[in-house]
Subunit: 174 residues, 2 copies
DNA sequence: TGCAATGTACAACGATCGTTTTACATTGGT
DNA sequence: ACCAATGTAAAACGATCGTTGTACATTGCA
C-alpha cells in the first residue's frame, strides 16, 4: 500500500471516529506510520487532507450505490452502516466542523451531495419510467434520515426507512 | 438578561455556526460580553458549557414540538428551520465532534434523543388510537432526514418529508 | 459603615496546535 | 558509481488552546 493511500485510510478512520478538529497531526502521523515530513509532502495541509479523504469516501460510497432499484438503495445503506458503522454523514459533519469556511472541504461536500441527489433521481426515474422529483426528494430524506437516526436508533432505522420507501413507491406507481 | 443566560445564548450561536472545537474561549467571552473569569465561574469548563447549551436547546426544541398531530410535527420543524437555520442537528454534531468521549455531552445528547423519540411515539399513538412503533420510527427518520437534507436541499426537504409522512399515516389508518 | 458577593481587565500558565527546518539514511535508475 | 528521489527522526517555529491567578471596582444587604 503506497504512502498516500495509507495516509488517507488512517485519516478517514480518525476523522470519523474522533472528529476533524479533535484529530491532531501527531496522532495522524502515528496512525499512518510515517513522519510528519512525509505526511505534509503528500497531503499539503490538514484541510487538503480532509478534502482528499472526502473525495475518496465519495468514490467508495457512490460505488456501493450503483444500483437499479430504490429498494436496492436502502439495501446498500444497510450494508454500508454494517461495514462503516453509524457515526452520521462524514460530509455534513466536516462541513459543520469547519463552519463551511474551508473552500476545498465545502466543495468536496457539495460535489458529493450533488452526485448523491443525482443518483437518487436516476434510480427513481428508472423505477417509475418517468421523472418524479418529489419522490426523489422523499427518498433522499429517508436515506439521510436513516443515516442519522441510525446513530442512536441502530440498524432498525434503516429498515424502517426501507419499508417507508417501498410504500411511497407503490403509491407513486398507481 | 442575566450572565448565565447571556453566556448560553452566545455559546449556542457560536457552537452552531462554527462548530464546538473551532470556537475558542476568547471568542466566547467577547461574544458573551464578559470576562473569562466570569465565564468560568458560571460555566465550569468548556464541556459543561456545551452540555448546558444542549440542555437549553432541548428545552426550546421540545417546547416547539408540543403538538397533537404528526403533520404538526413537520409544521413545527418548518418553523424551527426558518427560525434557527439549517445547520443540521446540534446534538448529533456535538457528539460527533467529541467522539462521544465527553460524558456530560453524550448524556445530554442521549437525553434529548430519547425525549424526541418518546414524543413522536406519543403523537403517533394519539393520531392512530393505538401504538405503532414502526410508523413512529419512520416518522423519526423523516424528521431526522428533513433536518439534515435541509442543510443542502433547503426547506423543500422538510415539505417533502411532510408529504411522505401524511401518506404513511393514511396507509396506517386503513 | 462594612463585609461579602460579583463583576472587570489582563497577564500568565503549561499544553498542544499545524507546519517547517535541519540533518541523515536508503534506494533505484542511467 | 552517482545523482535524484524518497523516506526517517527529532527539534523548533509562532500561534493558539483551555484555564487560572492577581489586583481592583462596584454594588446590595447587615
Amino acid at each position: 500500500m503506497d504512502m498516500t493511500t495509507k495516509l488517507i485510510v488512517a485519516a478517514e478512520r480518525l476523522f470519523d471516529r474522533h472528529g476533524y478538529m479533535a484529530t491532531g497531526m501527531d496522532r495522524l502521523t502515528e496512525a499512518a506510520g510515517m513522519s510528519s515530513r512525509t505526511l505534509y509532502k503528500h497531503a499539503g495541509n490538514k484541510a487538503q487532507l480532509m478534502a482528499r479523504v472526502l473525495m475518496e469516501r465519495n468514490r467508495r460510497f457512490m460505488a456501493r450505490f450503483e444500483v437499479q432499484t430504490v429498494d436496492a438503495l436502502f439495501a446498500a445503506l444497510e450494508d454500508w452502516v454494517r461495514v462503516e458503522g453509524t457515526r452520521g454523514c462524514l460530509f455534513l459533519r466536516s462541513r459543520a466542523e469547519t463552519g463551511g469556511d474551508t473552500p476545498e472541504i465545502a466543495e468536496a461536500v457539495a460535489a458529493h451531495k450533488a452526485a448523491f441527489h443525482r443518483r437518487i433521481e436516476q434510480v427513481v426515474e428508472a423505477n417509475l419510467g418517468h421523472e418524479d422529483p418529489i419522490l426523489a426528494e422523499q427518498v433522499l430524506v429517508l436515506l439521510e434520515g436513516a443515516t442519522h437516526a441510525a446513530v442512536y436508533r441502530g440498524a432498525d432505522a434503516v429498515s424502517a426507512a426501507r419499508a417507508a420507501a417501498s410504500i411511497l413507491i407503490a403509491k407513486a406507481r398507481t
